[in-house]
Amino acid sequence: MITLTPAGARNTEDAKMRIGLLRLTDAAPVIVAHEFGFFAEEGVETELVIEPSWANIADKLAYGFLDAAVIIPPLAFAVTLGLRGHTQPLVVPYTISRGGNTVTFSNSLAQEIRAHAVAEDISMAQAFAGVIGARQEQLVLAVVHTYSTHNLLLRYWLATAGLARSPKVTLAVVPPALAVDALQAKRIAGFCAGAPWGEIAERARVGLTVATSQDIWRNAPEKSLALRRSWADAQPDTVQGALRAMLRASQFCDNPANASYTAALLSRRRYVSVDSHAIMSSLPGGSVTSRNQSLFFRGATTFPFRSQARWFLQQMERWELLAPGLDHRALAHSVYRPDIYRAAIAPLGMSLPLHDEKREGGHNSPWTLEGHPDPIAMEPDSFCDGAFFDFE
């Protein structure tokens, strides 16, 4: 056995970086970095741990069974603040993906909404409001976790049609892999979940997607890499190596030419364990028709902008998931760590954003961000209601 860990860099006890992840398409860069040996080439020994639930990810981070995890950013704040169990300070030095979620409704409801939207020339959210306005019953929509991007995005979308606090819509938590069954059994009317589960529902002819992340917040930040702060502080070299390996994998996954490789790798039983074509459809270059594609690299995707942390915190407060009056700026600074990202990535000579914050939203078309040494080409980032967010 050849050990790639530099001698003395870490003691043997914590030699392996244990990274937790769920069965989701946007875990791709971590799986690629592990399987293709990118981590190993940076001298980082990794162990991937596939967990069945976000609750497990959170608990195992909280009690030190995991060093790192692919996480939904609101959950990283929840763990750091002890909102759902044991408190464990986390840092987020890297954003893994943007986009990739779908709002998927049962066939009949989705068809009704689509027809109404076309007939009245209104948004899907408004059409949904119109459709349920004419109905008596309450509808249950599922999100994957209380502290999830899905919960925040779905509520944002519902709010644009005045449905956020409607008594006719109840939000429930259903794990994504079970949401398709729940939809089929009519226990829920729809769900908001990450890829590939919307695609799986469509393929099983159980549901239809009426909106994606793109229709709510274009190229919305989605998954992040979270590390236990104490673990990260104890081995800065390992962290930097891991981030460089991640960057290489992110670049690979973002390249349209690699979609089928990535999909085949992820479809393995050990990982997402579904048809690779269902995975393909949300990978860059994997489909020409899909409206739900994740981004992994282009447009400074991987940079952990603190303004995005602020958006998550603001929305968590908006929906009473966070006590009012907390210092969001300080929280964003302690959890989101572009300084770690910069230290790791700067040696590669890649252009980096000049500032740790940016305006979120407002760009309907590609735009340019101030960067060093060169400006950075960015993707559209507009919100469905035209809002934008300036936090500093």
Partner: protein, 201 residues
């Protein structure tokens, strides 16, 4: 003690064992739920003092939303949430508990301790089973490799075994590995005739 307990476990045998153990210890009020969709509803209906759940179930994410059904009741994850060692023990064993009513830790702790012991024992049995299965698989592949050698090289059974053992010693590998490689080679050379083997993968 009338603590109401909801037990969520997809393994009926283990759930039954724990229920029995708990009722013998005087905790008779146990409701077993197999997991699945109506978990939050079930918890809402029973309004238990304590929920014990198998960490391998994805349903735990729905339980995180338990605030919605438990109303004003405080929720403490892991009985004795202030005792990291105890919680670590629980996680390592694969069991998680949600204390809904704020029942005294002294009441809850023995229950969770039983659950931890039981989950650990079941995991132990499972890993023993896996070892046994792996040994059986190895034996099966050696048998197949011997059959291949006996057919292709006209060896007797002891000769075939000796050949495999010699190969293994020379290559510094396990005999099972050598056998597996041989069988794999044989299968790949005869793609049409090996279709009857019915290998699952």
């Amino acid at each position: 003690m009338r603590l109401k307990i909801v037990l969520i476990d997809s393994d009926p045998e283990r759930a039954q064992a724990l229920e029995k153990q708990l009722s013998e210890a005087g905790f008779a009020d146990v409701v077993r739920v197999p997991g699945g969709m109506d978990l939050t509803a079930a918890v809402g209906r029973v309004s238990p003092d304590l929920v014990i759940v198998d960490m391998a179930l994805p349903d735990r994410d729905a339980l995180e939303d338990i605030r919605a059904v438990s109303g004003a009741h405080p929720i403490v994850m892991f009985a004795g949430g202030d005792d990291p060692a105890f919680a670590e023990d629980a996680i390592a064993a694969g069991v998680c508990s949600y204390n809904l009513s704020g029942a005294a830790e002294a009441d809850v702790r023995p229950i969770v301790t039983s659950a931890i012991a039981l989950f650990r024992r079941y995991r132990h049995i499972q890993s023993e089973l896996e070892v046994a299965k792996a040994m059986l698989d190895e034996r099966r592949v050696i048998e197949r490799a011997k059959a291949v050698l006996m057919r292709n090289r006209k060896m007797t059974e002891p000769e075939a075994y000796a050949w495999l053992r010699r190969k293994a010693m020379n290559a510094n590998k396990k005999i099972g590995q050598i056998a597996a490689e041989l069988v794999k080679r044989e299968d790949s050379q005869l793609p049409t005739t090996s279709s009857g083997q019915g290998e699952g993968r």
